[in-house]
Amino acid sequence: MDSSFDSSGIARPLAPVRPLPEAAARSAQAVQVRTRKSRWPARLDLLQSASGLFLALFLVGHMFFVSSILISKEAFYAVARFFEGAYFLAEPRPWLVSGVVGVVLTVFVAHAWLAMRKFPANFRQYKVFAEHKAQLRHGDTGLWWIQLWTGFALFFLGTVHLYGMLTQPELIGPYESADRIWTGNMWPLYLLLLFAVEIHGSIGLYRLALKWGWLEGRDPAATRRRLRAAKTAFSVFFLGLGLASLLAYVQLGIAHADKAGERYVPQRASAVKLGELEFALSRRPGG
């Protein structure tokens, strides 16, 4: 009996009736071969997130330490010497700072290398994404584009800063940093670096939470709105703190420009030295 019903489909219900899209067909064949898939994509994905989280948390601490200049020169001096081990070693050891910077630089380079996997690989991909973003006008798609460009900028801005700290850790101090920023003409780089790193860090933390499903709670959509607000607050707070700190260093650098290169000596140490001098003078015959 003639029928429009094709019973052959029952016997092989999953056989393709039309050619597959090329990419899908290729992958379908690859699956059939059943070679064991590399474990590295999982590790690289985790490492990208872990390195980003480490750098973002370091950034938070770094910004608070640097902004101690807003309290006083002595406060920043104390923080800088603390990281040189001055309070638990016989004397400050700047190489300790170099060690920390070395670790941060290593993670920084690793993160950049891992993140580059996601960059558009050629002009076609770049153009397709740019047009897609412009057409879709979608918030989180736009955020990734910002991550791409701030990340690209950080390749250069971050490396310059980290290399300086790696090789000259002893020049971290109120006058030393202020002279580097003003007399050493580093303030334009720090200004760009501040915006790039704070925006990249805040968006990165927000995206990390969504990527791994942290803090989802019962209402993931509401959590996402809250995370987005927290991201904006993070950016605004640390940009404000960073700008205020940079301005403080610039002011100090301008005031100290004629004595650029002179190391900072805390007032208490000065007072001790002055006291020693007065004591010595008082002991002079006829003093």
Binding site: L14, P16, V17, R18, L20, P21, A23, A24, A25, R26, S27, A28, V31, R34, R36, K37, S38, R39, P41, A42, R43, L44, D45, L46, R117, K118, P120, Q125, V128, F129, H132, K133, Q135, L136, R137, H138, D140, T141, W144, R207, L210, K211, W212, G213, E216, P220, R224
Partner: protein, 246 residues
């Protein structure tokens, strides 16, 4: 009189449609169609009016008119959406309509989503894998209602292609499985009848064309007309696949 209003008081709409016909060699070009807005008008109704009164050759797909079949997906003012679920009153009077990207273009607003979906289904083996011989006459094994609900929640996907068109990652890298593929893996992972382990699923999506390629842009979540929990499912799969891959 208010701008864009006609004598009846309803707005005058302009549908700016990207016309093309690859088989007839008609290059893509924009064409404007003018019509009067009606009460409760959807884009599906508007397109039908255009086809009935202005241009019978206009190509677009539809079946159910109720957001169930997933046929009428298109770019509405640049965003993927279903024509039958889009009320014209929520849009400006000038509405641009274009076919969904990624999929094979048939003509005008009509694309072949089925071909792409079939390829993805075969690539990801989105069916129950069981070593048991199926007895079609036996009663199905019972399942906890909560589990059945959870599977059904993910099974609500209508394969409209909106998440595919909205995904920047997939637009850049066409080999990426997209949210729809990952959602299907999440659905079969839940199914107790499917005997595949996480290691088996890792074989399917454990690389940069699978779950690790997702850049968490989340347009899939935001444009899905069925409101599927794509964001949380992809995050969940990522955790499971990392645990399996380490």
């Amino acid at each position: 009189m208010k701008k864009n209003a006609v004598s009846s008081g309803h707005r005058a709409l302009t549908l700016r449609i990207l016309r093309s016909s690859p088989t007839e060699g008609v290059a893509p070009h924009w064409q404007d169609f003018h019509l009067e807005e009606a009460e409760g008008m959807t884009l599906f109704i508007a397109l039908n009016e255009v086809r009935e009164t202005l241009d019978p050759a206009l190509q677009f797909d539809f079946v159910c008119r109720a957001g169930i079949c997933g046929s009428c997906g298109m770019l509405i003012n640049g965003k993927p959406g279903l024509a039958c679920r889009s009320l014209t009153r929520d849009l400006d009077p000038l509405i641009t309509l274009a076919p969904l990207p990624v999929f094979e273009l048939i003509g005008d607003l009509s694309v072949n989503t089925g071909k792409w979906m079939r390829g993805t289904a075969e690539r990801l083996e989105t069916w129950v894998h069981s070593s048991q011989e199926a007895d079609l006459t036996a009663l199905e094994a019972p399942m906890e209602p909560e589990l059945a609900e959870a599977i059904y929640e993910l099974d609500r996907c209508i394969e409209c292609g909106c998440c595919v068109a909205g995904c920047g990652t997939l637009r850049m890298r066409e080999e990426f499985v997209g949210a729809i593929g990952l959602n299907k893996i999440a659905r079969f992972r839940l199914d107790p009848r499917d005997e595949r382990s996480d290691d088996d699923f890792y074989q399917l999506i454990g690389d940069d064309t699978g779950v690790f390629g997702c850049m968490s842009l989340l347009a899939c979540q935001d444009v899905c007309p069925k409101g599927l929990p794509l964001q949380t499912q992809i995050a969940f799969l990522r955790r499971k696949m990392v645990a399996s891959g380490l």
